[in-house]
Amino acid sequence: MENNNSSKLVPYPSNALVTERDLHKPPVLEVNHLGIDFGGLTAVDDFSIIIGRTEIAGLIGPNGAGKTTVFNLLTNVYKPTRGNILLNGYSTSGKTTAQVNRMGIARTFQNIRLFSKMSVIDNVKVGMHMSVKENFLSSLSHGFGYSKAEKIANERALELLDFFSMADLAKAQAGSLPYGAQRRLEIIRALATNPSIVLLDEPAAGMNPSETAELMENIRRIRDTFNIAIMLIEHDMSLVMGICEGICVLNYGKIIAKGSPDEIKKNPTVIEAYLGKKKEAQD
């Protein structure tokens, strides 16, 4: 066992994407010894990680390792039993899920959670609600700056949709979209909240290889265009190894390895977790 589980192992991306200025800022996400128990059962324990600005990080592990639970902890859907989370240097402890989002974490869900009865563009506009300059009075009366606010919101929403070539679907009902488009819309909605990090929960689930390739391209484009960090849970190793700069492997709720894709690929503990233990006799 070479790798220890100290807290600062996921490196800043070594490529040129991190500018000098970024390095002086605190990392986007700093998680220290996070853990949660469900009725005596420890689901996640001692989870520590640092994610730099504009880093693409991967969270992998066998089924039931606690990956989605980590996302739920990061977004305060579950209140952590132990540990703390610093988002852009500020602690998220005691905040609601909504407040955590406003502090800068947006996410997608493993089982898609769109606002299925609303139109595609409304799904995006509702994501932008914090930046739409409409107070309650103007919502009721459609006066007091309503038209201007709606116009800006519409334009921005269409821009975002266009970024994923979905502008022509703006008026469609979100629930009626094909599967792949629904996944894309969920990412757009998350981006609309203007986050500093997006958590993607199995974004490639149910996609064919060409769709996955397109998704990889999109994830890179998101990072480069919006200058945000991305953390993703994914089972598709080609995607994870292809785009992630830092990878964290989870098994039975604990981090068993952290490092660059190459390091993870060679790590014997990871191989063991995925493929099972080699027989003693062969050793």
């Binding site: 469900f38 989605t68 739920n72 859907v77 869900f109």
Partner: protein, 292 residues
Amino acid sequence: MTTFIQTLIDGLSLGSIYALIALGYTMVYGIAKMLNFAHGDVIMVGAYAVIASVSMASLPPVVGLILSVVICAALGILIEFLAYKPLRKSPSLAVLITAIGVSYLLQNLALLIFGSEQLSFPQVINLPDFAFAGVQIKGVTLATLVITAVIMIALTLFIKTTKLGKAMRASSEDKDAAELMGISVNRTISITFAIGSALAAIAGIFYGASYVYIKPTTGAMPGIKAFTAAVFGGIGSIPGAMLGGIILGIIEKFSQAYISTLWADAIVFGVLVLMLVIKPTGLLGKDIKEKV
């Protein structure tokens, strides 16, 4: 002191009736995950069935009582089959609205058949009154307490030990898994409705015997209060329903006796609201985490 004991016994008696109704709510909620709003009106049907068979058709009381229970059990199955089964996969809002529809349907059918005038419930339970340490206990009250206790023990044993009871528990935990284990979930749900409605019929009989007058809306209030009791005890939990029913009955009688008859209902509902706000899972209920 006499008033205190008298009130306590009255409360226990009313609480037993609530407990019987609450059992139906809690069993149906546990297995079908729906609030059967019409459950309270089954009590009214049970009471009217006795009136129709004993007072109107002059059948012997025992036949009337059995008939009442059978009719209600059949009604429970019918309601489930016609109104709730098509909505098994619908959102809870749709199911609740349908249940409200069923409740109104039963009330208005009773209104058309029996009229809006209240009818008096026949003397089917003829037991002498007791005098104990200066406290008058009606025969009906005692019968209510004893029979309820017997039913509750029997029901607990039924659910714990029989095959059908196991099927019920399994279906309430996980319908798909139960189906894969060879349990017919549809049949189990039907039987749950039948048992719940039969209990409601018994509650209706005791209610009629204690409060004498029956009208089409008779079931609504006890129904809602019994739901309160089920929630109070922890919905889905059978001992919880019993406990909740009895506590609620006692609270109601004590507020009537010591605070004000006018405020009694408000107090009972106030207890519900407080309970739901402070501990939505009730006294004995389990906390279910929403899956994200």
